[in-house]
């Protein structure tokens, strides 16, 4: 994570080249971000005060004030996004990234957004969930003509309601969203104390189908995606959400994939406090550890981070915590390979038996096609995590500074608080009355200590 100073100076540097041109056209500059790392929250330098959010593996778009209007400049353009270290994707996005930068405004702000189209086809921006004049809704053909390539359109409206929103094209939607065109929008309440939390993370759920060895998503895929991402990042490329013990934490998630995602947090219970329709009245909030986020929906969940540790946070569809994998690969579990393996090896040098004991790779480092993430990966303090896709860790630590989002490393467990191997006498496993006696299985023997059995 870069600190705020380097982030701002970096943005200024990149934006510097645009100043003259933008001044001539009297457009606000369009800063560009090239790093996929989570950028520190952008405290508002002017306008109404608010508590800024942290965009997971993303950033917030700076603005300029002009005659009391907040002016933003989005540039729709092809970008190269690092999905995770070792893999990049040719996407379409805004201002150097996909998803585009988060736009943060305050309830009642008059907002003017310039949208420059540097895509090879027309586009538009729909401000998902906003209450605005119909002609600003960004639906090509219905409320406006498409923004032709090379042209700049301007949208202007008042951010009437505080809440959590998204933006995305409403022009050749299927292709443009499959290519990564989307961004987060937060309208803060006029009163910064209202709904105030200590840490406020935001990200979008997105999915891509990028063939192993290639770079560009297959935009015609409807359900069989192979990369399930938070903000176009797949684990282990997703930053941890670092929080201070006893912080009140809000996580806002928007779903722009083609399926629902039951998002699940370990070690805590949370409440769904907001949807894209607004804030949920306290009396209507349900305690949850998993909340399903349907297609096109936003959810804000809140919890008190009162349990120190490294807590999983992920989609509960297990295929969504995998990276690219062969969905038609037959199950090899339990298949005896003896003899056949050698035959195959004669024909295919370099072949290794895999999958006969399950799909875990046990840290096996096998060469893969270029630009392909291992199916499941990530190392923790106790070994491989066997995870990919929509997975990250909420790191709850004591004594962090208020604005410290730096990764504190792995949790140091108090002595005696980690599950460990049992070496003592085993009580007999109770069985249902009348059930046949348990068969001594190979797998059970394997798990036992070496000196406890001699028949191998």
């Amino acid at each position: 994570m870069t600190d705020r100073r380097s982030f701002l100076s970096g943005a200024a540097l990149i934006g510097a080249g645009m100043v003259t041109k933008a001044a001539v056209a009297s457009l606000p500059e369009a800063p560009v971000q090239s790093s996929p790392a989570t950028q520190a929250p952008l405290s508002p330098p002017n306008g109404r005060p608010y508590n800024p959010v942290v965009t997971l593996n993303g950033w917030t778009l700076p603005w300029r004030m002009k005659d009391g209007v907040k002016e933003f400049h989005l540039v729709a353009e092809p970008v190269v996004r690092e999905i995770a270290p070792g893999m990049t994707a040719n996407l379409w996005g805004y201002n150097g990234q996909s998803p585009g930068p988060t736009i943060e405004v305050v309830e009642g702000d008059r907002v003017r957004i310039f949208v420059t189209n540097k895509l090879p086809e027309h586009t538009s921006v729909h401000w998902h969930g906003q209450r605005l004049p119909n002609g600003m809704d960004g639906v090509t053909g219905l409320t406006q003509p498409g923004i032709p390539p090379g042209k700049t359109f301007v949208y202007e409206f008042v951010a009437k309601h505080a809440g959590t929103f998204m933006y995305h094209p409403h022009a050749d939607e299927m292709a443009q969203m499959a290519m990564g065109m989307m961004g987060f929008w937060v309208t803060h309440p006029r009163d910064p104390k209202q709904h105030a939390v200590d840490r406020d993370f935001v990200f979008l759920l997105n999915a891509y189908d990028i063939d192993p060895g290639s770079y560009t998503p297959k935009i015609n895929t409807m359900t069989d995606f192979n990369l399930w991402t938070f903000n176009s990042r797949a684990f282990p490329g997703i930053d941890p959400m670092v929080v201070r013990k006893d912080d009140r934490v809000r996580i806002r998630v928007g779903n722009l994939t083609m399926t629902n995602h039951p998002v699940h947090l370990h070690g805590h219970t949370f409440e769904v406090t907001g949807t894209d329709g607004g804030w949920v009245r306290p009396a209507a909030r349900w305690p949850e550890v998993t909340t399903d986020i349907a297609v096109g929906q936003m959810r804000a969940i809140e919890f008190i981070a009162d349990e120190p540790g490294d807590w999983s946070f992920h989609c509960h569809k297990s295929h969504h915590t995998m990276n690219a994998m062969g969905h038609s690969v037959p199950t090899m579990i339990g298949v005896d390979h003896s003899g056949v393996a050698e035959k195959i090896n004669n024909l295919v040098p370099g072949y290794m038996v895999m999958g006969d004991k399950g799909a875990a790779m046990d840290g096996m480092q096998m060469p893969l096609p270029e630009n392909t993430l291992p199916m499941m990966t990530g190392d923790g303090p106790f070994g491989g995590l066997d995870m990919g896709g929509m997975f990250t860790v909420v790191k709850v630590r004591e004594g962090l500074a208020r604005n410290d989002y730096k990764d504190p490393g792995w949790y140091k467990h108090p002595p005696g608080s980690v599950a460990h191997e049992w070496t003592g006498e085993l009580p007999p496993a109770p069985r249902a009355p009348g059930a046949p006696p348990a068969k001594a299985s190979e797998a059970m023997d394997v798990k036992r200590d070496g000196d406890m059995h001699h028949h191998h």
């Binding site: 192993p212 060895g213 690219a324 994998m325 062969g326 038609s328 690969v329 037959p330 199950t331 090899m332 579990i333 339990g334 298949v335 005896d336 390979h337 003899g339 056949v340 035959k343 195959i344 004669n346 024909l347 295919v348 370099g350 072949y351 290794m352 895999m354 999958g355 799909a359 790779m361 096998m366 060469p367 893969l368 096609p369 392909t372 291992p374 199916m375």
Partner: protein
């Protein structure tokens, strides 16, 4: 009745003729062997002559035995065929026949003495006739010339036969090596299918696959077993064809061949004037030319001798009792009914036939030269395409398939299916390489023997 003594005249001419032709001793084989060696690069005999006795046979067996100790190269195969192909040996001996004819033609027919003694009325009559076919005497130089040409022609045809056997052997060698190689690859394919089938059975046993899935894999394996038998049949047939050309049998038929065809040369031959070379070099064309010359000469002979060949010229000595009379007898055919024009016309027709046959042979040779050169170049390009494009791409696919297998993006069955496809591509390359070497042998044959510019790239 007169008893006649027919005496031979023109004794000096006789003497001249008697010394003009004799048997060479090798039946003209030396000349043929030298042409054949020059064109095929392989000597046609062990001791410079055809084997006639036990010692020769042993020497030949020793030479061939030595060649068969190593896997037989194409050049060695040609060598063995030239030495050992019995059909070719029989053809070599036809040289002897032709030479004997030639010598015979050059010798004047022996005079015939006819002696007749008769009794009658207490009288004894003795009639002695010595006849000599004078026309033979007169025509002998011409006949000798004709037979000389025929002998030359026979030499060319026999040499050509040797070249044909050499070319057939080279083609058969290429076929036999390729067929064995293809059969080998079929076995590899079968092995991958067998691994698949076995694994599918275990998949079924573990409860992971349906009977349908398993049957599919096993059906494929069953098909590859059939393919192996097909390719092995073809390999045996190709090898036996070669064995026949090599004239081998018994233990010698167990000769070994290289595991694979020679590699494709770095570049194909650039031949500028294939048609001219074919017309100049091909022995069958040269033989046809000789044939035409011969019929031309026969035509000339017929023209000049349209009457003489029916002339009987004799010296007569007649003893009738105690007195003897001397004289000569001349029988001259009077060209009253047959002016010989039919014979001349026939000879002319024969000549024109020969001329046209020569022209046809030339047209054929030129076309064959063009066709075989075009085929040779195309075969080279095709084999190179397999080598430089198809095989590297298949290899790349296999590498990428393995990477996908590593990432659990593909199954082991896809890995095995790819191994099969790769083997198929390799078979395609072997086929293309075989076609190339056969095209080269065809080109050589169409050009009348080994390509002068082709040293060092023989298979």
């Amino acid at each position: 009745m007169t008893s006649l003594y027919k005496l031979v005249g023109g004794v000096s001419l006789l003497a001249l003729l008697g010394g003009c032709a004799s048997l060479s001793g090798d039946g003209g084989f030396g000349a043929v062997a030298s042409v054949s060696e020059q064109r095929t690069g392989a000597p046609a005999s062990v001791a410079g002559r055809l084997p006639r006795n036990e010692d020769d046979a042993r020497a030949l067996a020793a030479v061939i035995g030595k060649k068969l100790e190593q896997p037989l190269s194409a050049d060695d195969a040609v060598q063995v065929a030239l030495l050992n192909n019995r059909g070719l040996q029989a053809t070599y001996w036809s040289l002897g026949v032709a030479e004997a004819d030639l010598v015979q033609a050059g010798r004047v027919q022996n005079p015939v003495l006819d002696f007749k003694r008769s009794h009658g009325g207490g009288e004894v009559g003795i009639e002695r006739t010595l006849t000599f076919n004078l026309v033979g005497l007169i025509t002998a130089p011409m006949a000798s010339r004709i037979e000389g040409r025929r002998f030359e022609q026979t030499k060319l045809l026999v040499s050509n036969e040797a070249l044909k056997v050499a070319a057939d052997t080279r083609r058969a060698w290429v076929d036999a090596v390729a067929a064995a190689q293809i059969a080998d690859y079929a076995k590899q394919v079968e092995a991958s299918a067998q691994a698949s089938a076995e694994l599918s059975e275990r998949m079924r046993k573990a409860g992971n696959w349906s009977a349908l899935d398993m049957a599919r894999e096993q059906a494929y394996h069953a098909q590859t077993v059939a393919d192996v038998t097909h390719t092995q049949k073809a390999a045996v047939a190709a090898r036996e064809k070669l064995t026949r050309l090599l004239g081998l049998s018994g233990e010698q038929a167990a000769y070994r061949l290289p595991d694979h065809l020679p590699d494709l040369p770095a570049a194909p031959r650039e031949l500028a004037n294939v048609e001219q070379a074919a017309v100049d070099e091909r022995l069958d064309i040269q033989a046809a030319k000789l044939d035409t010359e011969q019929t031309a000469s026969t035509l000339g002979l017929t023209r000049t001798t349209r009457f003489i060949n029916v002339l009987d010229l004799g010296a007569v000595r007649n003893t009738d009792g105690p007195t003897a009379t001397r004289g000569y007898e001349l029988t001259l055919e009077i060209p009253l009914f047959d002016w010989g024009s039919a014979r001349v016309a026939r000879a002319e027709a024969t000549y024109m036939q020969s001329v046209n046959q020569l022209a046809q042979a030339a047209v054929q040779a030129r076309s064959e030269a063009r066709a075989s050169y075009a085929d040779y170049r195309a075969s080279y390009d095709l084999a190179r395409h397999y080598r430089d494009r198809v095989l590297p791409l298949r290899k790349q696919i296999s590498e990428q398939t393995l990477l996908r297998y590593n990432g659990m993006l593909m199954s082991v069955f896809e890995l095995l299916a790819d191994a099969r496809e790769q083997a198929t591509a390799v078979s395609g390359y072997i086929g293309a390489l075989r076609d190339y070497w056969i095209a080269q042998a065809n080109l050589e044959a169409a050009q009348g023997g080994r390509l002068s510019t082709n040293k060092g790239v023989q298979p």
